[in-house]
């Protein structure tokens, strides 16, 4: 039988790659903004420039790359191909990029007009994306933890954007809305609804597949996203209505239990992997899970603290660990597995034999970038307590993101060279050396 794979379900390689290459420049900008803000950067979470920085990372880097990866993952994980994927990629990425720039400049410049423009642009691009991916997820007959998690994560973008849009309308039109409650709901749905449940679903697939571990237990895999959704809905409703504080606290504690169970299960599986040597993706993933446990510890400390000064510090540190420690680590590690695999998969159609996947990205360059990412994480976290560290922390964050972009661009250029160049000797293919 033919040994080449079929591509009817997989999107064109330009679909995920445009998102992957579009994300890191936003993280470079975030790092430079942090360095430019200097010691005042991480003092108050209400600082508009810090909010600009956060959205450079959450929309520009995280959402953009996660959205692109999902278009690639859906056919593999769920047998669900997204209709008109190239059109969707172009439209939704343009919307996300323009919306992120408008929102960030709205915060940074205090421009009401930018907020007014950012709301419909981000709202429309997310709506189109959710509609198309939701259609694919609704049609598939696949069962199991991954599909369930994706079916919860993707629609969770809607409350994330609705609550965020309401918050932005306060800045755009000066509307009088309950800021704290809306902010709580926006952050909870962004990180716990969309972000973490997506990570769960993707982990169920890629941790055993790429890190060669046993599988997550099926009951655990379905229970975690379902319980997360249940606690999140309950907490949001009670918080917006300002009712039942004791029950809200209980729901928050139970959600902390769910997140802890996921992180511990992942770390345990990683210890049981068949091949004991570490690779860079495993190190990124392990960093992300340890940071996730630290986030839970900080969130619990925050729940039981009444001192507003300590709460402010805890919440800024929590944000740093969640964004840089958890999501940037996991995304970064994931990219280093997906990109070589996609290169290999798509090259099958045009060259034979296809070079080994390990030749697509230089291991030393990936390891170096991992160390720089780790240094930036430690430095940004310490800058919460030692404000003068904000400048080196910002430069490290920008440097790490630039290095990531450089590594990814090298792999993409290698793909183009191999796909176009019939005269290339495959025996000599090496990662682009720098």
């Amino acid at each position: 039988m033919q040994s080449t794979f079929e591509f009817e379900q997989a999107p064109p390689i330009s679909v995920p790659y445009r998102f992957f290459l579009g994300g890191p420049p936003f993280a470079v900008a975030a790092g430079l903004l942090l360095a430019w803000m200097g010691p005042a950067a991480l003092v108050s979470r209400w600082n508009p420039q810090l909010l600009a920085l956060v959205h450079l990372l959450t929309i520009g880097f995280m959402l953009q790359i996660m959205a692109g990866a999902l278009l690639q993952v859906l056919p593999v994980a769920a047998g669900a191909s997204v209709p008109r994927s190239l059109w969707l990629a172009v439209v939704s990425q343009a919307g996300l990029v323009c919306g992120a720039v408008l929102l960030v400049t709205g915060f940074a410049l205090g421009s009401a007009l930018n907020f007014k423009l950012a709301i419909p642009v981000l709202g429309a691009s997310v709506a189109v994306y959710v509609l198309f991916c939701g259609f694919a997820l609704a049609r598939t007959k696949a069962q199991g933890g991954t599909v369930l998690a994706l079916r919860i994560a993707v629609p969770s973008l809607v409350p994330t954007v609705v609550f965020g849009g309401l918050l932005a309308s306060v800045f755009g039109w000066g509307r009088q809305l309950p800021l704290m409650e809306l902010l709580g709901a926006h952050v909870a749905w962004a990180f716990l609804g969309w972000g973490l449940i997506l990570v769960m679903g993707v982990s169920y697939l890629v941790v055993p597949m790429f890190q060669l571990t046993p599988a997550y237990r099926p009951r655990l895999a379905t229970a975690l996203p379902l319980l997360s959704l249940l606690f999140l809905v309950g907490w949001t409703v009670l918080d917006l209505l300002d009712r039942a504080p004791a029950l809200r606290m209980l729901l928050a504690l139970m959600e902390a239990g769910v997140v802890t169970a996921f992180a511990v299960a992942t770390l345990v599986l990683q210890r049981q992997r068949r091949r004991k040597q570490d690779d860079v993706t495993l190190r990124f993933w392990r960093t992300g899970m340890i940071a996730l446990l630290a986030v839970v510890a900080l969130a619990l400390a925050d729940l039981f603290t009444t001192d507003p000064v300590i709460q402010e510090t805890l919440e800024i540190l929590l944000g740093v660990l969640l964004i840089v420690g958890v999501f940037m680590s996991l995304i970064n590690g994931m990219l280093y597995k997906i990109v070589p695999f996609l290169n290999w998969l798509h090259l099958q159609r045009v060259v034979s034999p296809v070079p080994n996947m390990k030749r697509m990205l230089d291991e030393k360059a990936m390891s170096g970038q991992f160390r720089m990412h780790l240094a930036s994480l430690v430095c940004v976290a310490l800058a919460v307590f030692l404000p003068w560290l904000a400048i080196p922390a910002g430069l490290l964050l920008a440097g790490s993101a630039l290095w990531l972009e450089w590594n990814l661009a090298g792999a993409v250029l290698l793909f183009r060279r191999l796909a176009r160049g019939p005269g290339v000797s495959l025996a000599t293919v090496r990662p682009v050396s720098r």
Binding site: Q2, S3, M209
Partner: protein, 74 residues
């Protein structure tokens, strides 16, 4: 009934599971099945099987293993 050709692809990195399965299908004899063991459902494989005249059925176990039985479609 002939014993199935077992392809235990748990713990193998991509693309080895797909390659080993396709290779095993080349060795199938009449009335025999390939039993693929994997920690995920191999959706990309299903399309290939269908187009090449194979049928499959899936069973899952409590440790997260999917057992995919593949045979010539009748």
């Amino acid at each position: 009934m002939l014993d199935p050709i077992v392809v235990d692809a748990r713990g193998l990195p991509p693309p080895e599971p797909m390659e080993r399965t396709l290779s095993a299908l080349d060795d199938l004899v009449e009335g025999q099945e390939v039993l693929l063991l994997l920690y995920r459902e191999p959706f990309p494989l299903y399309g290939i099987l269908q187009r090449n005249g194979y049928a499959h059925r899936v069973e899952s176990t409590q440790d997260g293993t999917f057992q995919i039985y593949i045979r010539r479609a009748t």
